[in-house]
Symmetry: C2
Subunit: 155 residues, 2 copies
């Protein structure tokens, strides 16, 4: 499946590695309003967008949902908590435009990575690179808040 | 070196993998006030605390340094940007109490991971797990800010 090669997680895999990956990948339609995953629940699968739109969100309190991002490009993915202990989703994902989604089960991918350490190393390297980037961005947002507070104290 | 096994990055390596790792590890003394790394600079090494204390910090603007953490437990490490493209430190680290530091060069570790994909996979998995945890924590801090703002608008 060519779509898998668009996903940053799988950047750098060989043709035969993509072949094995596609064998554990399933495609399914998702209706508008349906959830792919819920914050706090067990992370059992990784999801890759083929068509449609999926919104990522987190609940700030029971009455307020904070939107984090919208995934709409083929190859965009979510559910990376399924790649990392303790396998627990940290965000919710809701379909906002009818979608086709590729699904890779955590157990199947874990098995593939154990059988092929090179594949595992590439995937984990890509994931770490992504997470470090996101961490830097989130820290940057926090810094802006601190800056605002600092300037209000020392105008 | 037993100390390496205390570092979360190397959790799960075999005795022979630790042996190879120790062969590329160097130890050096660091004086109080000395910097191990500077935010924004090329990440050329990973640092592991043996003794002493190291403060991690980020500059919010030219005149204000925001402390992030203090490393003082044997096995605490910093400089993980040396494990991930684009190899650029995202924090500064200053010694606040005379220290003994283990140093592992990025190029040497990269070579070791290429020679032993299993070792690479374990290290990258540990790193991804750590980064996802830190990302969740940092998002949580941001949420608290949003909550405060939300409550000030809707008291």
């Amino acid at each position: 499946m060519e779509l898998l090669s668009l996903c940053y997680i799988f950047k750098g895999l060989s043709a035969s590695q993509f072949q094995r990956l596609s064998e554990i990948t399933k495609e399914k339609p998702i209706q508008k309003g349906e959830f792919l995953m819920h914050e706090g629940q067990k992370a059992e699968a990784l999801f890759i967008i083929k068509e449609g739109e999926v919104e990522l969100l987190t609940s700030v309190n029971d009455s307020f949902e904070l939107p984090i991002a919208i995934l709409r490009n083929p190859g965009d993915c979510t559910g990376i908590s399924s790649l990392v202990v303790p396998y627990k989703y940290s965000l919710s994902a809701r379909c906002v435009k009818a979608a086709q989604i590729l699904t890779i089960k955590q157990t199947a991918l874990e098995k593939l990575m154990k059988e092929d350490h090179e594949l595992g190393c590439i995937i984990m390297k890509n994931l770490a690179q992504y997470l470090l980037g996101r961490l830097k961005e989130t820290r940057q947002e926090l810094k802006i808040h601190f800056k605002t507070i600092f300037q209000s104290i020392h105008p």
